[in-house]
Amino acid sequence: MTDLRFRRRFWNAFNLTMAVLATGFGLFWLLWILWTTLDAGFAALDLRLFTQDTPAPGSVGGLRNAFAGSLIMIGIAVLLGTPVGILAGTYLAEFAHGTRRAEVIRFFNDILLSAPSIVIGLFVYTVLVVPMGNFSAWAGAMSLAILLLPVVLRTTDEMLRLVPGTMREAALALGAPYWKMIFQVTYRAASFGILTGVLLAIARISGETAPLLFTALNNQFWSTNLDQPIANVPVVIFQFAMSPYADWQRLAWAGALIAALAVLALSITSRLIIKGRSFR
């Protein structure tokens, strides 16, 4: 009897201890990675990062062209992907709510959401880069847009479904056409949720490297020509980190720090928005 009791208590204590240790273990690695990024990144941070372009090995320089290229491509991706995502999400939540076809689209949207980003890069390579004949900022932006789209679609769908049906009915009862009801009632009610989705999607694409390797490629020089290869932070980080030159590796860490801070800032902001204006 006491033996059984002891055994149960022992396994309980043992497994609970293991759970605490596992948490510590998991956090240990993640914090180590974060600390390395902060440490190596801040050591390499200086003002030239934003005022000079990527240098040849051995000379000084910054990442100005890479930042510009990334911002341009992310901007285009947001302009292309957000409206499509929001409207498609609107269909699922407002027009096809509760139907089988909505479930099917939702299902495959989630698959697209989790599909390896490198595969999306290959796809854009075959449908854009090959026909156009060269790597370009357009192609890079397009692959980022495809990565952003399912995130925006999903959050829009979820946020619109949280809007109470009574609000829709009130608008329709006043004689508003369906589209007007959606624009003036449900979009407004869910606007902060949808904004959160867009921010999270931007956070996701701003660190993506793999799809840009075969689409935007890279550019050593300042370029804003959308039909030409363009410099961008992730691919520059990749190239510089893999290089044997110490000063390139330093720049890679500085770029990694900026990318990580941008992603963290975006996700923290979207959390604060959700916390402040949660729609229930």
Partner: protein
Amino acid sequence: MAANDCERKVAGLFPDRMFRHLTAGLAYFVLALLIAVALSLFLSGWDAFRSFGFGFFWSEAWDPVTNRFGALIPVVGTLVSSLIALVIAVPISFGVAMFISELAPAWLGRSVGSAIELLAGIPSIIFGMWGLFVFAPVFGGVEPWISHNLGDIPGLGVLFRGPPMGIGMLTAGIILAIMIIPFIAAIMRDVFLATPAILKESAYALGGTTWEVVRSVVLGYTRTAVTGGVFLGLGRALGETMAVTFVIGNAHDLHASLLEPGNSIAAVLANEFTEAFSPLYRSSLLALGFILFIITFIVLVLAKAMLWRLEKARGKVGL
């Protein structure tokens, strides 16, 4: 009067119908996109599939000079590195999820949960850089110990005999594991928190210890969804590029030892695609991309199917 009425009706309905068709078209566009991805990769890889036949899948060849290619080594590398990641990440994630949902006081659980979610968003290239510059040198010092102590285990020992270089299949698996821990842990936590409190309370009322409640009630209730979460993590590990490319070693060899460098589909693509000039070389790489897409597609469909029931109940879980 009647005509006027009719006109007003049409004027009112027309924008409605337009809007509805527009949104429907864009929703189906997502479906079309997924099909287009599969189709375009298959067609671009067709050259390789046709030239090498089914042999492409189990050929070890990878020789740009003689134009002979096979998928075996990268496919095996992708599967092995992801499996190593799962073996490490699943128990740890389970511990983290259990800690957050059952053990920690609410404030601590919430902050640990948020910290882990935030860290899950760190770009994967940083994991790769950290792996190459920080982890690999440290791990290179640990590897002799591993081969010394584990290399003599009969049967399994062969996995751990090899050169202590710090980079290789095992390192890639470990980096992947660190990367997917937050991801799997977050899903498991959501799933655990979805267990009805009344079930847990009943078990506690019968005198169960915390562990017994977790094992028999929480895990029993959420088994399918937990497996689904693990599969989602697997899907992520299979397609991960940057975290792996830095540390897997990029050697086109097949070794029994996990300490030896290897290659994965994503790493091969990242390293060789822009340098592949012959059409057959490029087509073989695209065929590899197609294989990767199909593998992850199957894994993700299984994952979603397992998370389905729970998702319906809660409206949102996972990514």
